[in-house]
């Protein structure tokens, strides 16, 4: 099961389980301001737990693969017939940027890119 499916399900379950607590907090802040609302120990413990759940929720929402971008570059390089093992490239002159450059020259006819060959 891919992470793209697991994350939304985890988010959804977490959202369901915290919806009651969320409503209680919104109600307390919006409709019952004042010192009287600060009396219950159990209520405060629930707020504390809701804080942890919310932080976890925000983390999951932003849990994108930051190296997805590099992966994209590498896989597009492989797909364009430059081999499957990047370590095979021993030649230091065959730089990463020039590979991207070649890739774009090769694919410029098929992709809707705004770059022109004169820019390279």
């Amino acid at each position: 099961m891919s992470i793209q499916l697991v994350l939304p399900i985890a988010e959804f379950l977490l959202a369901l389980s915290t919806s009651g607590g969320a409503w209680n907090i919104v109600q307390a802040v919006a409709f019952h301001p004042g010192a009287d609302a600060l009396q219950s120990l159990q209520q405060h413990w629930e707020w504390h737990l809701h804080g942890i759940s919310t932080a976890l929720f925000v983390f999951l929402a932003f849990a994108v693969e930051v190296d997805e971008h590099l992966e994209q570059v590498l896989s597009s390089y492989r797909l364009n017939g430059h081999g499957s093992d990047p370590d095979m490239l021993e030649d230091g002159s065959d730089t990463f940027a020039s590979l991207i450059h070649n890739k774009f020259l090769k694919c410029s006819a098929t992709q809707s890119l705004t770059f022109t060959n004169s820019e390279f």
């Binding site: 369901l16 004042g34 629930e46 707020w47 504390h48 759940s53 971008h69 590099l70 990047p86 030649d91």
Partner: protein, 414 residues
Amino acid sequence: MGLSRYVECLVLTCLGSVPFLAVVNYKLDPMIDFNACSKPCYFVRYVGTETLPETTAAKLQLKNSSFVPWDFPVFAAVENSRSFSAVSPQVSILSLPGCIGTYPATLGWIWSAPETSELPNPALVNEYVCETESVRKKIENHPTKGYIVTVYLFALVMWTLMKLAHDWALLAGVPEEITLLVGVLSWVFQLLASCAAFSWAAAATQVFISKIPEGSGACYYQLAPFATLTALGVPLLLLYLTHVKMKNLVLSLAHGDYLHYKILNVPCRAAQGTAASHLLLTKGLPGDFNVVPAPHQQLPFRNVNRWRICARSLRYFYDFMLIGLILPFASGGFFLRITEMAVSHEWSLSPMVLVKFFTMLAAASTPIIGVAFGAWMFFTMIQEVFSEWSSLRDLGSSPCPFNSSFLLLSFCWL
């Protein structure tokens, strides 16, 4: 011109670190920055120190037999001139937040130091005594004691020095393999500083003690709202900057290293034309006259692959620090304090209105975003089912949509 850029880099880098240094070194005023716990102050301390022990039933001297084991951290309420009260985490498979809450308590139980003393009894003091200047002057600023502040200051200084070394090296034309390494080291120290800042701020959101010489009692205090918000702002800002830096570091592996000390402004159309998803950055855009192309990044492809592995390892390390330490130990206390402040203030035209709005937004974000995620998942799957159905119809198969995807969709939605 060349030298002025180095000086500008030095000044801006140091200025960027000053607020983070100033907050932990700020000397709190005992008469202004603390509110006595004349009403209950709620907190949980998972790991204790000599100044403020952990909130276990044993350390709180609770006689109720429901708190088993005795050295398991519990959520406590303290009020001057009254005894402690507490509630222990309850594990239930029906309550996901409850399950999440037991994780830091269990870790605190494992890490607990049995040699620390008991928490001084608030029932032995008079609440009027706690307001006197002589007692307030003895409030112990426990977050600044211990090794956490030392770690924080060390990480902050190293982060600043590494940033400076990185930017100077980049300006001097040092090969990017070296500047990228220095940049990654700078990020590691920034993450370390974030973790230490969260630990410091978590302690600051708890209670402060002023021991009364007569007897074994003590007065308890909490930080005033403004001081609390300042203490919470530092780690949150530092973590945000760490997150942004990590994303930029990964981008710099693909497109070339960048200066950390300043944000370079570019026209909007250029930014849109060089979006990260296009995998290429250029100096010029079509339509510009005499466009000078940007030089290629001179990083060998083989090294990029190694950096990619390094970046992924850093990401896992970052996730571990967030999920394993920062979120469970600090976020609960942060949210609790902010919610308390939001609830205890009436609606009025004051800055506290912003806190109230923020709290409501943060509390409501979970169900709202969760439902949005569910809806997004639902519509994505509907789209896939229909595209699959259309392709099957084109092939002359049965147009029945009740295939495996549809059943999976129905199951997930239900």
